[in-house]
């Protein structure tokens, strides 16, 4: 594989031409015969209860077909995951429609009419009697004694820990208020650290760490809420045929979104066909679709007609959710030379109304990774607020961790007189740096490939840090410009997903994938590995994605920066399986041992030349042989979802599919690649190791202007660039592009905000 033909090479992804010519179809671009349109009635209050609905005037309007209320939306049911684990439904989780809206702009009911204007007019004619309820939009204010709560039951989530082997219990709500002393502390500008409801963690001896320290700082910082604002709002369209639901929606993942839809509608996966070939941005907020996606499905069932729901930009502000703000207080101890000896971190997350997130905990784990404190503790809680639902957003938690920590580190450096780059180098992780708490067996998670120190050196040289430092903070006219430095990381990786491809007697390789397409191109990039291993040129690869009626295998959620990692491994595993089958077929027909044969250049042939056959011929033979060769027999470890795909492969031939279930099932190829100088190898190498539960330092991005922090806002494209042969573990914004970035930011400040 030393001279790879596909991996690490530039190529045109199969979706690009459709995109540039306007032929790519996003959810809103589909039409169906007799399609109705939906508009939503949104709550005008941050917290209220619907006492009664009078829809008679609306229903009497010509063109109005149906009204859907919260009572008609099936509640979320308990589910069994693909791996067989029980997922308990949280009765307090977000629903498509609600009778107790918890934020302003939450959908209360929906109208289907022959066109949107009619539906909107019908909404205007619906009379609702509301009972207004107390509300709270500030996580910290709700902790003041006597302040109102966001939920009737309370203002803070508690998360009971699960006994070993038991499913995670459903989070509960409690009413929690500060004492008078804590209020005083808060008024003095420090977040009181006394109360925590999340399972806390710590390592090392904090007390000793602080004792050892020459400098102790105690600071409170707050990160902002940021709305996702995907350019494509979460539109969906649905219709029913013969008891099957066909749903077009905007989602980051394909096959995994089926499971969400099934859970929200209480259906069987077999009865859902989900189409999403293109997604106009998700940034974490459309991980496996959005719960409101099912509204057209329910209305389509009710009316017997296809229904489309276009979500307007205004509606998207609420429904689309936001990254949660994290209020953090950090007590940090350092020695004279800048080494962090202790970090006591406490966070309050603005959680929105539905369910506790992990952003506070994750933030602290990244503080632990990036700054490697000798001892560290974290405590925290998620406060409930009547604000739009909080969702994952690019580098969820990690980003907030950086925003909390970097100004603090900068302040420490100034106090100690240590250089800003230097203090980060002193504390940077390297090699298999451990971070976060120990697990039940006493093992701490570890990083697998850290080059932060090297990145800092390289960046400092590229940006002429010493020169810039001298100019930092100097007044020029009415402006003061500062320079700063920040580091960033995120973890990625998951295992247990299937690859699937078929080689047919026409000599082509048909690859199926359940990966979503939100523009990161991982749905296609990962498959290059399988094609490379099978010796098939890319022109002979037919890739199917984005339509679950076409039997897609079980793929990972396209989120959390994991897809390229997880699904490259699945592609590797499935190609390994394919090679094995080809070798066996060749040995059966041409004699010798399977090991005597190699697969390359569209042939399976004897090592070192000699007898062989084309893949097209081998495919024909596979059909005759049947059994495992043509996909009639499925490996036991493949997922329930993928088994369905057997139907595709029946008429096919060499059908290979395999679950990449364990971290060790795919390493040989990847390891060999890692010895290569190609950067794809670097990616793969770190990916392999991160599968053992570790964390890869994904990128170190720098932003040198105005002391602001630039973190990798586009984690996915980092993967893609890697794939196309660029550096990534040291990804640094070159001065030229940094200038360009700031130029465009200047031009479009709104872009920088979203």
């Amino acid at each position: 594989m030393a001279d790879s033909k596909l991996v690490g090479q530039d190529y045109t992804t199969p979706d690009l031409r459709a995109k540039v010519t306007g032929r790519s179809k996003y959810a809103e671009d589909f039409r169906a015969e007799g399609m109705l349109f939906t508009k939503l009635l949104l709550s005008p209050f941050p917290h209220a209860r619907v006492k009664s609905v009078d829809a008679s005037a609306a229903l009497a309007m010509p063109g109005v077909r149906a009204i859907l209320t919260a009572d008609e939306v099936p509640g979320p049911r308990d589910q069994v995951s693909d791996a067989g684990a029980l997922i308990k439904a949280n009765p307090r989780s977000e629903k498509a429609l609600t009778n107790e809206p918890m934020y302003q702009g939450e959908p209360v009911l929906a109208v289907a009419a022959v066109d949107e204007l009619t539906a909107a007019e019908a909404i205007e004619r619906i009379k609702i009697r509301w009972e207004r309820l107390p509300h709270s939009v500030d996580p910290v204010a709700s902790l003041l004694p006597g302040a109102s709560n966001a939920r009737v039951e309370g203002n803070v989530w508690i998360r009971p820990t699960a006994p070993p082997g038991q499913p995670v219990p459903i989070p509960e709500v409690m009413d929690l208020k500060w004492t008078q002393a804590e209020v005083e502390e808060y008024r003095a500008g420090r977040l009181p650290m006394g109360k925590d409801t999340d399972p806390s963690w710590s390592y090392g001896d904090l007390e000793a760490g602080f004792k050892k320290a020459d400098l102790v700082l105690d600071e409170t910082f707050v990160t902002p809420n940021t709305s996702h604002q995907c350019l494509e709002s979460r539109t969906s369209m649905a219709y029913w045929q013969n008891g099957k639901l066909f749903i077009h929606l905007s989602t980051q993942s394909t096959i995994q979104t089926v499971m969400s839809v099934v859970r929200w509608l209480d259906m069987k996966p077999e009865d859902v066909v989900l189409i999403s070939e293109y997604c106009g941005g998700g940034y974490g907020s459309k991980g496996t679709g959005s719960v409101t996606d099912i509204i057209p499905a329910l209305l389509a069932k009710k009316t017997g007609q296809p229904v489309q729901m276009r979500v307007s930009r205004e509606e998207e502000h609420g429904i689309g959710g936001a990254r949660p703000a994290v209020h953090g207080r950090m007590k940090i101890g350092l020695t004279k030379d800048g080494r962090i000896t202790a970090l006591d971190m406490y966070t309050v997350v603005e959680g929105g109304p539905y369910g506790p997130g992990n952003d506070g905990n994750t933030a602290s784990r990244f503080a632990s990774l990036l700054f490697q404190p000798e001892s560290m503790g974290w405590r925290g809680m998620t406060a409930i607020t009547n604000t739009p639902p909080r969702r994952a957003q690019s580098q969820p938690g990690g980003m907030q961790g950086i925003v909390l920590m970097e100004p603090l580190i900068a302040r420490c450096a100034r106090k100690l007189g240590v250089d800003q780059v230097q203090i980060r180098k002193i504390n940077a992780p390297s090699g298999k740096a451990k971070f976060g708490p120990a697990d039940a067996r006493g093992n701490r998670t570890y990083s697998t490939s850290c080059f932060v120190k090297e990145a800092l050196d390289k960046g400092a040289a590229l940006f002429k840090w010493d020169e810039r430092k001298a100019r930092s903070g100097v007044r020029a006219g009415n402006k003061v410009r500062g320079s700063g430095v920040a580091i960033s990381a995120y973890n990625a990786g998951s295992v247990g997903f299937d690859g699937l491809f078929i080689i047919k007697p026409d000599g082509k390789m048909y690859i199926q994938t359940g990966i979503g397409n939100l523009g990161t191109e991982s749905f296609s990039d990962c498959q290059r590995v399988a094609a490379e291993m099978m010796g098939v040129p890319w022109e002979k690869v037919v890739l199917t994605w984005g339509d679950t009626s076409r039997n897609l295998p079980w793929s990972c959620v396209s989120g959390g920066s994991q897809t390229t990692h997880a699904m490259t491994r699945a592609a590797h595993a499935v190609a390994t399986d394919g090679i094995k089958k080809l070798q066996q077929i060749a040995a059966k027909d041409l004699g010798g041992q399977p090991g005597d044969y190699v697969v390359a250049n569209e042939r399976v042939a004897r090592r070192g030349g000699g007898a062989g056959m084309t893949l097209a011929h081998a495919a024909q033979r596979a059909i005759e042989l049947g059994g495992t060769y043509d996909g009639h027999e499925v490996p036991d470890d493949s997922s329930r979802r993928s088994r369905k795909s057997r139907r595709t492969s029946r008429r096919a031939s060499i059908a290979s599919w395999t679950t990449c279930a364990s971290p060790t099932s795919a390493p040989s190829f990847i390891r060999r690649r890692s010895a290569d100088r190609c950067s794809a190898a670097r990616f793969s190498a770190s990916a392999t190791r991160s599968a053992s539960g570790g964390c890869t330092t994904r990128s170190t991005a720098w932003r040198w202007r105005a002391g602001s922090i630039r973190t990798s806002r586009r984690p996915f494209s980092t993967c893609r660039r890697t794939w196309r042969g660029r550096q990534w573990s040291f990804r640094i914004l070159k001065p030229r592009s940094a200038r360009a970035a700031s130029a465009s930011l200047r031009l479009r400040p709104a872009a920088a905000r979203c």
Binding site: V114, L117, C230, L231, A751
Partner: protein
């Protein structure tokens, strides 16, 4: 059964005064109508304001298209819903994002904020009209493919139309000029660096083909 058959028809022939009263009564809906899709299924009922459509001819991508258009209908709606040209996207429907940009007589416009009846007699070009019938892409499109520009590409058609329009007025821009020229478009994936690189390459391709 057609919709007309399903819908109970109300007595037509409303007086002008009743019509105006109705418009006032449903003021919010009428003012919102610019960005709501109104189908042609209620023609002739006269029961709802804004349902009146007029047949007009539109010159889209070099073809004359006959289409029924309401007074308050936006060009984006006509293109997407009546002419099936869904390459033009709606990101905000309120002149903020530029996803809906099309060329009207070679000048980029936000089609979400242009009323269709105002473009009578003008020539409209959308993303679908850039590719030549023989499949040759416009240089800007080709440049995007060569640079693998854009991420989710929801903003792409707007950017392409803006750039194509801008390059007609300034065929040889600097990167800064180009950035300014397409500054009316937003990319939420924040792919600006690659977008500018693609567009600069597109400009270079165009220079090559013209000289």
């Amino acid at each position: 059964m057609t919709f007309q058959e399903q819908i109970p028809l109300e007595p037509g022939n409303k007086s002008r005064r009743t019509f105006i009263k109705m418009v006032i009564a449903s003021g919010a809906a009428v003012s919102a109508s610019a960005y709501l899709f109104r189908g042609s299924t209620l023609i002739g009922q006269g029961s709802l304001p804004g349902a009146v459509e007029r047949l007009m001819s539109l010159n889209v991508n070099g073809q004359m298209r006959r289409v029924d258009v309401m007074k308050q209908e936006t060009l984006a709606m006509t293109l997407r819903y009546k002419l099936g040209l869904t390459g033009t996207k709606l990101g905000c429907d309120r002149s903020e994002c530029g996803a809906c940009t099309v060329l009207i007589d070679d000048v980029p416009h936000y089609s979400c904020s242009v009323l269709t009846h105002t473009v009578r007699g003008k020539s409209i070009q959308t993303i679908e009209g850039l590719e030549r019938p023989d499949g040759t892409l416009h240089p800007v499109q080709q440049a995007i493919i060569d640079e693998q520009g854009f991420q989710c590409a929801f903003c792409m058609s707007g950017f392409v139309m803006s750039a194509v329009g801008f390059l007609k007025t300034n065929p040889n821009p600097t990167r800064e000029e180009l950035a300014h020229g397409i500054s009316g478009n937003l990319c939420r994936c924040a792919d600006y660096d690659k977008i500018l690189r693609s567009m600069m390459r597109g400009a270079a391709y165009m220079q090559k083909t013209t000289t």
